[in-house]
Amino acid sequence: MRNRHLGIYLPIAELSVNLFTLLAIGAAVGFLSGMFGVGGGFLITPLLILYNIPPAIAVGTGANQVIATSLSGALVHYKRRSIDFKLGGLLLAGGIVGSSFGAIVFSLLRRYGQLDLTISLLYVMFLGIIGGLMLVESVASMRAAKVEQLAIPTTPPAPSGLQTLIHRLPWKMRFEESKLYISAIPVLVLGLFIGFLSAIMGVGGGFIMVPAMIYLLKVPTNVVVGTSLFQIIFVSAYTTFIHATANHAVDVVLATCLMVGGVIGAQYGADVGQKLKGEQLRSLLAMLVLAVALRIAYGLFVTPDRIYTIAITGAS
């Protein structure tokens, strides 16, 4: 009754939340997606968990929200013709298999009461690694720019052993748009891996997909983001569908609030993004990613309010 005009009831999460808080989360993440050119799933899901949305629903709804942002972004790239459909299609094929497998693991973890912990651990691990690498890289390139007065491309060297392995694999295919001639195996494996994470973490996976495509597959940077976004639309749509049918974990009311906020936020974010330098932008994002990772890690170690939890296992 207190927040009668501000409150909104989420029918699947089965709780009342503040409408403006949801719109603000959506807008803030949308602003960052516009500014940094990321999908935002890796921020939405942990923010929802911190806002007391049950982790399973945060994941299912996060995947739903990712469809909108990735489609919006991919349309821009489609007009610029910076999407490699053949490469994207192959990544997608791996992604569908990975997502199906991820959804099965998700159900099993939920049944044994280990889902919330696994989601948090995966977030701490991936956000920690990606945030740390980005921070080191952006600080190094800021220093380099200061010292030598010119921007030196500081691409972190990928493990050379892995690269040689990738180039020795069979089933080579030609990707005309990307001007690549590589084996289909690493492409499928990458898609599979990201699809798996998409189902368990509720992310599009662009934050892993983009660096992996650049450093491991050597895809030219101009088609990387478009191609990644293109396949994320379909993998997250598939993931949303699976979570809605198998786990009843998609809250459309929640997703709509986030997407509407996100659409508005993205407009302003893109304007700000164009005014900031690349390294500054990346170091800011890196610090944000690390902050989220630390906050989730804190939640794992701090003594919970309640030692006991209840999970309803069947309908009445």
């Binding site: 699947i12 569908f241 049918t245 009843h248 459309v252 997703a255 997407m259 030692i307 006991y308």
Partner: protein
């Protein structure tokens, strides 16, 4: 489902009526008890913040002397739907809090809201409450797996969590006689009251002895759009999934259109 409940109820009434007749005709309690609800369905909206539910009841054939001395006691309970559930316990593992132990219950009521004329311990003794499985402490959760100490610990934890949420409660003094024969029970339904079929039951005690029980059914349903969305997600999950995807596509496309203009 509903018919079955009615039949058991009738059977129960019949046995409680006829058993004493057969054994000791003279000791048949003269009191009769009846409770009624003004409605058999309560619909709660999305901004439901809890409410007080009033249940009226009639006590006929009461002994005026005992009534004047206040030695009739009533306990009125609204018990929520029973569902299978798991209670889990967290423990520190390498510094992190991990679910390690659990107990599953075949059927546990999601809510148990009681009101009584006086404090329960002043009405009758523990054995009687235990026999009737009446009151939060005496309520038994149905566990098939283990009837050991661990199940006891988890069933206590389940009751504590519900007490904190307001879904398990006992309030003394919330059943009042408004006349010689009529009484009124006020039950505080919390915002988190579960939806589903609830059962209201009244227990009559005279001088600490249980005499009669009367019950009524109450359905609590979610109203409006939220309920429609919830039902669609449960029953029509394939269409719900398609709709969720379609909605995101429309918003994403609109976002792109707006973005391009700006």
């Amino acid at each position: 489902m509903k018919r079955a409940t009615c039949l058991t109820l009738l059977a129960g009434l019949a046995s409680s009526l006829f058993a004493p007749v057969a054994s000791a005709q003279n000791e048949l309690p003269p009191e009769s008890l009846q409770i009624g609800l003004s409605t058999d369905t309560i619909s709660i909206s999305s901004n439901f913040g809890g409410t007080a539910l009033t249940i009226f009841g009639a006590l006929d054939g009461a002994d005026p002397l005992i009534q004047r001395q206040g030695r009739y006691d009533l306990v009125v309970v609204l018990e929520g739907p029973e569902v299978p559930l798991v209670v889990r316990r967290k423990q520190r593992v390498f510094g992190m809090w991990v679910n390690t132990a659990s107990a599953s219950f075949d059927l546990a009521p999601l809510s148990y809201i009681a009101a009584s004329t006086r404090n329960l311990q002043d009405i009758t003794d523990k054995q009687t409450f235990s026999k009737l499985a009446l009151g939060v402490a005496a309520l038994k959760l149905d566990s098939n797996a283990d009837k050991t100490a661990i199940a006891g610990e988890f069933s206590e934890a389940y009751k504590t969590l519900n007490a904190e949420a307001g879904t398990y409660s006992e309030s003394a003094g919330k059943v009042e006689f408004i006349s010689q024969n009529l009484f009124r029970a006020t039950l505080q339904l919390p915002a988190s009251v579960p939806v589903g079929q609830h059962q209201a039951r009244a227990y009559l005690f005279r001088n600490g002895t249980f005499i009669r029980e009367s019950s009524a059914e109450l359905a609590i349903v979610k109203s409006g759009t939220e309920q429609a969305i919830y039902r669609a997600a449960q029953d029509q999950s394939i269409w719900y999934g398609f709709a969720a995807v379609a909605l995101a596509v429309v918003i994403g496309w609109l976002g792109n259109a707006i973005f391009r203009k700006g």
